[in-house]
């Protein structure tokens, strides 16, 4: 499925991430879903609409035009600045599990022909946590957008700052927010998309600083964790607390967009904000509608 990516070592990812069984059980509606059907449907439960989490690579694939992605800083990774017990091992495990070097993939690509810098956090890599490398890559992506006069699109999925890097991880909030601030000052668009879950330090920095903020349905979005809050306030929180829909109602995000509409919505925003468009528009970049998006996913699943 991943032949359009320039890093072949990622190609083993999909199989590990999706165990081999023919059927998957939806965690929300408990229905058994034929796995191929689930993948064809962009990993959205066809029964109840539950949006299963995606890996960064899956996200890139359903978002970008085929063969359009040029990754940057592919090898960039965090070190162990604090000599934090067990951190190197965890980092190594995450690398092996995901095939990536860090919890974010960044690069340049096109969406329906519109050129953009893009970053996608990978929740499967140490919970998408932001350490020095994630902060660095997000800042560089923002700077690259500014330098090349392109938009920035960030898909977030993160548990927050990476505590194994101590205050250095906290400083990534400042680094990324400052970089995004420069992009704003320079007048280029920044679209932030929050996926399930986007919490902690990532929300308290670049994820909440988009010119436009989108979110996937049902995505958990918040700063503090539900359990900690329940301990503080000593009562149960409503079920929809910190969901994308809750945040929409509270005025914190612009739109909740289903996965099948996400690509076309982002493309429309890029177009609106004047993103340059490559000519000719890539083959795979037909006007984005649910069907093309699904068939793209479907065909790639078949490629496996």
């Amino acid at each position: 499925m991943l032949n359009w990516l320039r890093r072949p070592k990622y190609s083993s990812l999909q199989r590990r991430d999706m165990p081999a069984g023919l059927w998957a059980k939806c965690p929300r509606c408990n229905n058994l879903i034929y796995r191929k059907e689930l993948e064809r449907n962009l990993k959205v439960c066809p029964k109840c609409g539950f949006h299963h989490r995606l890996t960064a690579l899956e996200r890139l694939e359903i978002t970008l035009d085929q063969d359009s992605f040029e990754e940057i800083d592919a090898e960039l990774t965090s070190t162990d600045p604090l000599k934090f017990e067990g951190y190197p091992q965890k980092l190594q495990e995450a690398k092996e599990k995901t095939g990536g070097a860090e919890a974010v993939i960044t690069g340049e690509g096109t969406i329906d022909g519109y050129r953009t810098v893009i970053g996608v956090l990978d929740f499967h890599f140490m919970g998408g946590s932001m350490g020095s490398a994630v902060g660095e890559k997000v800042a560089r992506a923002s700077e690259q957008a500014r330098d090349r006069q392109l938009p920035l699109v960030m898909f977030s999925a993160s548990g927050g700052a990476r505590m194994q890097e101590g205050a250095l991880s906290l400083m990534q909030l400042a680094k990324t927010s400052a970089a995004v601030g420069r992009l704003h000052d320079a007048g280029f668009p920044y679209i932030s998309v929050m996926c399930d879950p986007t919490t902690g330090g990532v929300t308290a920095s670049f994820a909440f600083l988009g010119d436009v903020i989108l979110a996937e349905p049902g995505a958990l979005i918040g700063f503090a964790g539900r359990r900690v809050i329940e301990q503080t306030i000593r009562h149960k929180l409503p079920d929809d607390f910190q969901t994308a829909e809750f945040c929409l109602n509270k005025g914190l995000i612009d739109l909740v967009v289903t996965r099948s509409d996400m690509r076309s919505t982002v493309a429309r925003l890029l177009s609106f904000f004047g993103a340059p468009r490559v000519e000719p528009v890539p083959v795979a970049a037909e006007p984005a509608t649910p069907e093309p998006a699904q068939s793209r996913s479907g065909s790639s699943a078949a490629d496996e």
Partner: protein, 322 residues
């Protein structure tokens, strides 16, 4: 969050605790029985002081956490009262509420106009409840930003005092967008067109601290802490055992010295022996002398150069390999 502290964790701590318990016992005995145990008590006091000295001479990170959280540690109001004149406190975010956990004021430092913002921990339980233990709601961050914008308009330096357990894990704080508020402050401070001095005086708790701590110069009192997560929280998540907070405190490198080594902190300000609470005025003097040294130079640089330097500073933090 202001966590209940687990007991001391080293042999010296235990010795000290035992000695203090014994002294207390003898005192009570002497009082109740009207007998003179002055000699015995004095001996024990001397021994306790010896142990204290040993601890204070080379306090562990966990000791430092406790010093940073000490209930007698000087509070923002102490710093403000002693360091500044002509103080006019400003209230409110002009949007929703005045948050007493965040203080914002116009003031003068040795005649020079400055804008002060800071976490407003209380001195006792009543004050702390009113001020949410120094944990702001979103409106607190927004108040600080509003007043920092005033500083920007008039080209006055901002002095931000950091002392908070962290952002508040409450439902209303979430509903009103504390993540947005913190992110906004960080972004705006990174490009605020006036100089910003950050002084970490007590607890520098994660995003709640950083929301007012982006600036041109970061000063930190010797026994203050600055951390991405509380040691208790870290221990609970990593080791499922909050009592391992002392280990987490060491692992997180949250002391001023550590943070200076990581280039997060520019200068460590000495505290009186044993901690600021043993001589608050000395700790305040330490801050005063740093401000005297640095404030005159702030704002000499052209704004654009200052912003470039500020950007470069945060841009450089972190360790990576490619």
């Amino acid at each position: 969050m202001a966590a209940t502290l687990p007991g001391p964790s080293t042999d010296l701590d235990r010795q000290l605790q035992d000695l203090e318990g014994e002294i207390e016992r003898l005192r009570r005995l002497a009082r109740e029985q009207a007998i003179d145990l002055g000699g015995e008590i004095a001996t024990l006091e001397t021994r306790a002081e010896d142990v204290r000295k040993k601890i204070y001479t080379n306090p562990s990170p966990w000791h430092i956490v406790q010093l940073a959280r000490h209930s007698q540690r000087p509070r923002l109001v102490d710093f403000v009262a002693s360091l500044f004149t002509d103080v006019v406190e400003l209230h409110g975010d002009r949007l929703f509420r005045d948050d007493p956990a965040m203080l914002a004021a116009l003031a003068r430092f040795e005649g020079r106009p400055v804008v002060v913002v800071g976490h407003n921990k209380g001195k006792d339980t009543k004050e702390n409840i009113a001020r949410n233990f120094g944990m702001p709601y979103p409106e607190g961050y927004r108040k600080a930003l509003r007043v920092m914008r005033l500083a920007e308009k008039f080209h006055y330096p901002v002095i931000a005092f950091v002392d908070t357990p962290g952002a508040f894990p409450g439902d209303e704080a979430e509903e009103r967008g504390q993540a947005e508020a913190i992110a906004r402050n960080i972004e705006e401070m990174s490009r605020l067109r006036t100089s910003v001095i950050v002084v970490i005086t007590g607890e520098g708790g994660s995003g709640g601290a950083l929301a007012i701590a982006v600036g041109d110069l970061t000063l930190m009192l010797q026994y203050a802490i600055y951390t991405v997560i509380s040691p208790e929280g870290c221990a609970a998540i990593l080791w499922h055992d909050a009592t391992k907070a002392a280990e987490a405190a060491a692992a997180l490198r949250l002391t001023a010295k550590d943070l200076q080594a990581l280039k997060i902190v520019d200068e460590v300000l000495p505290e009186p022996f044993g901690g600021a609470h043993r001589d608050p005025e000395a700790a305040i003097t330490s801050v005063r002398s740093a401000l005297q040294r640095h404030l005159p130079g702030m704002g000499q640089m052209p704004v654009q150069a200052m912003l470039e330097r500020r950007y470069a500073k945060y841009r450089s933090l972190g360790q990576i390999v490619a």
